[in-house]
């Protein structure tokens, strides 16, 4: 099976010269879920931003579903890789829940009535159809996260990248989110410090350390090896 995401020798330096990624080799198979573990500043989120073309690699390459991440492919790649950001307030920018979820399909050129229909379907899928007409800022943290995920699912991506998905969620909200994600067929990358949450969804983890992948193993083995 060919990888849905393949990164080779990926390097990235910020404008101030800080080298955030120092040669990342990574593969993700279709339908696979992998947790990215590691300390703050170890390069996890910087790596994830390359998968959607939000950051441009200093060296190396990323290939998504057979398409190299470069300017001419960005539109197609952003439909294949959906990023769910840590703070849902940053992601829910439209006046109503329904319009927010429909934003991606509309931006991709779908007709307005079809986009609204698609948004309604996805809201039903994540259990938020009853909030379609609400303003995003009137939702709880758990509801915002569900709507943020719905906004990504509406674009029918092949890969979901979730950055600290349990931030701001209470334990029932975390369990509900894990159940929702477990039912989704897409390949998933979970960037998290929450090991029990990651264990609900996968056994595989990659450990980032100082801009490099230090290990790829089972979560239990990584926790033991790095005293995580």
């Amino acid at each position: 099976m060919s990888a849905i995401i393949q990164a080779k020798g990926l390097r990235y330096s910020y404008e101030d010269g800080t080298e955030a990624l120092k040669g990342i080799d990574f593969e993700l198979q279709p339908g696979e879920t992998v947790a990215l573990l590691g300390a703050n500043g170890s390069g996890k989120t910087t790596f994830a931003l390359h998968l959607n073309g939000l950051l441009k690699a200093t060296a190396g390459s990323v290939v998504v579903d057979g398409l190299e991440v470069k300017e001419s492919n960005l539109k197609a790649i952003r439909r294949r890789v959906g990023l769910v950001f840590q703070d849902s307030d940053n992601q829910l920018f439209m006046p109503t829940v329904l319009e927010d979820v429909a934003f991606g399909p509309l931006a991709a050129g779908m007709a307005a009535d079809l986009a609204m229909e698609r948004a309604q379907q996805v809201l039903e899928q994540v259990g938020m159809a009853h909030k379609a007409g609400k303003a995003p800022w009137h939702l709880s943290a758990g509801e915002k996260k569900r709507v943020a995920i719905a906004g990504i699912l509406a674009e029918e991506p092949k890969v979901l990248v979730l950055d600290e998905p349990t931030t701001f969620l209470d334990p029932p909200g975390q369990r509900a989110l894990a159940a929702l994600l477990a039912d989704l067929p897409q390949a998933k990358i979970l960037i998290t410090h929450d090991v029990p949450f990651a264990e609900r969804l996968t056994d595989t983890a990659v450990f980032f350390r100082e801009g490099r992948i230090a290990a790829r193993n089972s979560i239990a083995a990584i926790v033991r090896e790095f005293d995580w």
Binding site: L54, R78, F93, P95, E99, L106, A107, A112, W137
Partner: protein, 205 residues
């Protein structure tokens, strides 16, 4: 209505009363709480009063009165508009009237993130109060520093929002969400209300 109000240049009790009654009828028809709308519109009065005092001291008594009347009626009209029209429809209507798309985007984001900024300002105030015991509004130097930090946080949030938008396919243009049809009833409402406002303005002053 706003243009008609802005064009009132000398006190005319009857015209003002007619405009007030028209606005109240509309507020009632829109099922807005009329007493509350009347009270909320008065929020502009301290500012209008200040300008009125300046005009009065400069010897222009009519202008002093009209500044306050125009301010209050304009505030009432704006409240009626935003209270009776959901923002998406309002922005859509402004767009069809030719308002610049960039301006409408700014209005939409301002509306969306005002609450978030208020929460951030509140969180900063609480953090300061928890460390200092209290926060006095009139500590200008600290308030200025806090405003700078709030601006920086707002800027960082704006960058994060833009990044999230780009990740979801934003290419600089907001997609059109819905087309609200302009019905015959809308045309009749516009024709009747504009005729009433203009007739009152022409005939009563």
């Amino acid at each position: 209505m706003l243009l008609a109000i802005a064009s009132i240049h000398r006190p005319g009790g009857l015209l003002v009363a007619v405009y007030l009654v028209l606005l109240l009828i509309c507020a009632g028809a829109a099922r807005l709480p009329v007493p509350r709308v009347l009270a909320t519109a008065a929020v502009v009065l301290p500012f209008a009063f200040t300008l009125g005092v300046v005009s009065f001291l400069s010897g222009d008594r009519d202008r002093a009165v009209m500044v306050m009347v125009r301010g209050y009626l304009s505030s009432l009209t704006a409240l009626l508009l935003v209270g009776s029209t959901p923002l998406p429809e309002l922005l859509g209507g402004l767009g069809r009237l030719g308002a610049p798309a960039f301006l409408l985007q700014v209005m939409q984001f301002l509306y969306r993130y005002l609450m978030v900024l208020r929460e951030e300002a509140g969180a900063m105030r609480d953090a300061a109060a928890s460390r200092a015991g209290s926060v006095r509004i009139l500590e200008f130097q600290k308030a200025a520093a806090a405003a700078g930090v709030l601006f920086a946080r707002a800027h960082a949030r704006a960058q994060a929002i833009h990044r999230a938008m780009v990740a979801r396919g934003f290419d600089g243009r907001m997609p059109a969400f819905r087309h609200v049809p302009f019905r015959i009833a809308d045309g009749i409402f516009v024709a009747v209300s504009v005729s009433l406002v203009v007739a009152a303005r022409v005939l009563l002053v």
